[in-house]
Point group: C2
Chain length 298, copies 2
């Protein structure tokens, strides 16, 4: 997609505006992701100067949140590359994150007011989601509602805001697109949580089966805990480094209890609901984005 | 000032909006500072719903920047109280800073566009200033221009923006107030740099004579380095813990070379220039704010 190249170019222009050599150097080291949010915005709002700028703003916000996230999670890799906190230090990630956040917010003030409000409010939710995520690792969480609230805030809110803001730019029905974006985000996080169990570290670009070690009771673990007979064994493995035997046991239990299968089903149902809501919008790309997101392997 | 109480109340309302118990708990633990930016805004724009909101936004931004600053500087105290990173951990400071930043930006979108741009652009400068500050501690900096650029961005930009935004709200001459705010900020930082040398840790609420140990070549050290004969001895003490003898020697040299006196003079001259620019604005409070800022002892 050559329009994603335009987004990358615009991000560079925004960072060049900051007139800080170190920031440009750091930008070059950031691993580019799938740019899901940009793809979504461009498929809804089309390609124009303002939509490319909106994509750049949202990608800068997303990158900033990951920079801080990697410090908080003490992650040394991001998308298969060394993270900025690993190459430099935590300080650099915090500061560069702050620069990307604030430049993005500054550029948002040039957008229509409702767009600016929608996106910045999502960042507030996202930041609270980060806090909830960390708090939920304190002890084995068994609340489905707490999990859903956390992933909505941490992951879905910015995707929801991207879809809504794109709809606002194009005078489309923002409610439909918001719901599509929200469900895309929720399903995205659930698939991420599933891939942590089903994929190897090479495919993931980060350690595999690491969520549970980090204290994250994700959707497959929530369902597993509900259904498993030997709850004690599962709880005893929580926040511990897993040996081969334990991780094999967890995977087997995930399959025999259908916890994994039903987690995938939950993500798919969110996707179907979203597709159904936008079915009269004549935008086949939305179906395609959802399908390829759910079927992704990393 | 009971209007500062209104600002604190408004900050609480904004944080309550976030609907996150942990954030409210953390807000309670934040040490309230001098609220210089709020005083300035209220003296320029008067007391109204919108000016109180602007104060709250700016104070939340300032608090967020200090939360991140304390992680970056590994500071364990702030205004004589334990810092959030000391009470909890670095994660909590990063996340709570992000929440305050993003909520402030969200509320900014309800302000007139030029106000929103002015304040958010100052946060970009502030974030870059933080990066420059850290970079300048890599080796003994002898560049006056680099020091001035850094303190402008790190400290003065938000004070400049506060004055400008307040002027915009009241349809006053924003250029005059910008310059006043900028000089107030520059002088504020210089006085801070001077107090680090002249005051004890109890008065400062943080370790005394610590800037040089941390690698910060502040204005008195810049002037001292220019004028001192035994540059080697000064350079040899850079970034080292100082014993009684060394710190006494530095203080003596600061006095005998007039480095300290001339630093104070520089701050005062910036103050005089600022007061002169706004002399026809019929606002005596601006003179008083500048004077008490320069004459402060902590």
């Amino acid at each position: 997609m050559k329009e994603l190249e335009q987004v990358r170019e615009q991000i560079k222009i925004f960072v060049e505006d900051c007139d800080d050599a170190k920031s440009l150097e750091l930008l070059d080291l950031l691993a580019t992701g799938k740019m899901l949010r940009s793809k979504l915005i461009l498929k809804i709002a089309g390609i124009s100067e303002i939509s490319i700028k909106l994509c750049s703003i949202v990608e800068m916000i997303h990158a900033a949140s990951l920079l801080h996230d990697d410090v908080i999670d003490e992650a040394l890799t991001r998308r298969g590359k060394a993270s900025i906190n690993a190459i430099f230090d935590n300080k650099t990630s915090i500061m560069f994150g702050d620069i990307l956040y604030s430049k993005a917010f500054t550029e948002l003030t040039n957008m229509p007011k409702e767009v600016a409000y929608t996106v910045s409010n999502a960042v507030t939710l996202l930041s609270i989601g980060e806090m909830l995520d960390v708090d939920l690792t304190e002890k084995f969480n068994t609340s489905y509602d707490k999990y859903m609230d956390m992933i909505y805030k941490k992951t879905a809110s910015l995707i929801e805001a991207s879809a809504k803001a794109a709809a606002l730019l194009s005078s489309l029905d923002e409610k439909k697109y918001s719901l599509y974006g929200k469900n895309l985000g929720l399903a995205f996080q659930m698939i991420d949580d599933i891939l942590d169990i089903t994929q190897d570290s090479e495919t993931l670009g980060k350690p595999a089966m690491f969520d549970f070690v980090e204290g994250k009771v994700t959707i497959p673990y929530l369902l597993l805990h509900e259904r498993i007979e030997d709850k004690n064994r599962l709880e005893s493995l929580y926040k511990k480094p897993l040996n081969e035997e334990d991780s094999t046991w967890i995977k087997e239990q995930m399959i025999s209890t259908n916890a994994l299968q039903d987690s995938i089903l939950k993500a798919k149902n969110l996707g179907l609901e979203a597709i159904n809501v936008v079915k009269d919008e004549n935008n086949d790309s939305l179906v395609q984005i959802m399908t390829s997101m759910i079927e992704r392997e990393f």
